[in-house]
């Protein structure tokens, strides 16, 4: 049993353990940003190549305030959201079924293996040839980009389910569809959510990449215009903004999953 004599010692021990966890990351981030700030100012790199950190941040604030920015973000976000939603709606059932029904797996998996190395974002140019540069192509490319990771992770999740779980459900007289929804899906959830996390990152990549290629409107187009016009500062500001958005979306997703599904074991 611990005595009051032991408590201050425990506290010091715990603090000694935790202090590096806070100090070291803070130190490295500060050093990195500090370097970003100083290097262009001291001429270590050309400030036409890399503007100092503070100037980029100032531009970020400026860009965020521009009316064009908001509308472009909205356009990109719509495509992204719709594409991701459709890919999820198709991918999870497909992957799950593949995991539970071997013939389907044997049929679909070789196709996935062959199409996996194809640079999906590049297909936007073909999509435009077939369907013009409208919503169909722009949403379609997002679906194409993130479908495979969703299917694969759903497959792994459904495939690895403890068989006895399914037998118990069947023994209780639960029909196949209800089994699918109430037993298989929850059991496969960790893997599915992990794949979804990856799909979020890939889908943002695909939206941005396709917009950089065919422009029109959206964040990618906005960025390309700035690049074309030699507005270095704006390009860096945009890169910073999009990078931060990607990071925040990932963070929000992980936190949302953890909070709404506290029973989930392990990381996603």
């Amino acid at each position: 049993m611990s005595t009051t004599r032991g408590e201050p010692r425990q506290f010091i021990a715990r603090a000694r353990h935790l202090a590096p966890q806070v100090l070291l990351p803070a130190l490295s981030v500060t050093m990195l940003l500090g370097l970003w700030e100083i290097a262009p100012r001291l001429g270590w790199v050309r400030d036409t190549s890399i503007p100092p950190f503070s100037e980029v941040i100032a531009e970020v604030v400026d860009v965020l305030g521009r009316p064009g920015f908001g509308t472009n973000v909205a356009s990109s976000a719509q495509r992204w959201g719709l594409g991701l939603a459709i890919a999820t709606a198709i991918g999870i059932p497909l992957g799950t079924l593949m995991g539970r029904w071997r013939p389907l797996y044997k049929l679909v998996d070789p196709l996935l293996v062959v199409t996996y190395p194809v640079p999906k974002t590049a297909l936007i140019l073909l999509f435009v040839l077939w369907w013009e540069a409208g919503t169909v192509s722009r949403v379609g490319i997002v679906i194409t980009g993130c479908l495979i990771p969703i299917v694969i992770s759903s497959y792994h999740g459904a495939h690895a389910i403890e068989e006895r779980l399914v037998w118990s459900a069947r023994g209780l007289g639960i029909g196949p569809i209800r089994r699918g929804v109430r037993v298989i899906l929850p059991a496969a959830l960790p893997q599915i959510l992990s794949g979804l996390r990856l799909a979020i990152a890939i889908s943002i990549f695909t939206v941005l990449g396709s917009e950089l290629l065919i422009r029109g409107d959206g964040i990618g187009a906005f960025m390309f215009t700035a690049l074309d016009n030699g507005q270095t500062l704006t390009v860096f500001a945009m890169s910073t903004i999009v990078a931060t958005i990607g990071f925040l979306l990932d963070l929000i997703y992980v936190q949302a999953v953890r909070r709404s599904l506290p029973w989930l074991e392990g990381d996603i």
């Binding site: 990351p25 860096f236 890169s239 990607g246 979306l249």
Partner: protein, 261 residues
């Protein structure tokens, strides 16, 4: 020879070949019926093959392919070196892991293509920016796989090695890396495709040579068969490299109890 024994290699080949058959059949069908557009917009596989042969004969296909391959290999090689070195440090040295965690956590979910325009500003429009882009796509899977693998090593494995006369420095190459190899190779496989995608896309968005550039130029000049040649070529390269990787992986991990994907 029993019928089953004769059939097995045939079946094996069929499952490897079947996706290509399906894709080609689908392609031919769509082009023939003009479902996605006319012959110009969607040339049938035959036309594309003819065009590929033309480009091969005049050397341009080979040239562009070599440009892309060179960038891919440099990007991938750099990613392996940096990824394994940094990943091992992160996996084995707590101070490094704590210090680098925010940076890695921030950059990992970032769409690297968002950073590509900045890369072209810093590194120019030549191959360097494509290599950097490919590197940025490839380094994270390797780094994370290496960090995961090297951080989860059974301490008693290292103890056994040290009681058999292995110094700390030796244990890195003789115990840590082999034990982490399955995880490293999983990351390395994903990285391979990442490098290809980064280089190819980089060439498409803002480049002057390579298969990606070829596709982008063909798009702008409406030489549509060239577009198909470019994307099919890069896809085939990706497929072959992936297959080769899996073969190498299977032999390197013959001792491993896990199933290879």
């Amino acid at each position: 020879m029993s019928p089953a024994a004769v059939l097995r290699p045939v079946v094996w080949v069929w499952w490897r070949v079947y996706p290509f058959v399906v894709i080609l059949a689908l392609w031919w069908f769509l082009a023939d019926r003009g479902l996605l557009g006319n012959r110009f917009v969607m040339p049938p596989p035959g036309d594309v093959l003819d065009r590929a042969r033309e480009l091969f004969d005049d050397g341009s296909l080979v040239d562009e392919t070599l440009v892309t391959l060179r960038s891919v290999f440099i990007a991938y090689g750099l990613a392996m070196v940096v990824g394994i070195l940094l990943g091992t440090l992160i996996g084995r040295v707590r101070a490094v892991r704590l210090a680098l965690r925010p940076i890695v956590s921030f950059l990992f979910p970032t769409p690297k293509v968002a950073l590509y325009p900045a890369m072209t500003i810093i590194f120019g429009l030549g191959a360097s920016s494509k290599i950097v882009f490919g590197f940025s796509e490839a380094v994270f899977p390797i780094l994370l796989g290496t960090a995961a693998g090297t951080s989860q090593i059974e301490p008693r494995l290292l103890w056994s090695a040290s009681s058999l006369g292995t110094s700390e420095r030796q244990s890195l190459l003789r115990v840590v890396i082999p034990a982490a190899l399955p995880s490293i190779l999983t990351g390395a496989r994903i990285a391979m495709v990442g490098a290809i995608i980064g280089v190819f896309l980089g060439e498409m968005i803002a480049g002057s040579s390579g298969l990606g550039h070829m596709m982008a130029v063909a798009y702008r000049t409406l030489e549509t068969p060239d577009m198909y040649v470019a994307i099919v070529t890069v896809s085939l390269i990706g497929y072959l490299l992936d297959r080769t990787f899996l073969l190498a992986r299977r032999s390197l991990l013959a001792w491993s109890a896990e199933e290879a994907p």
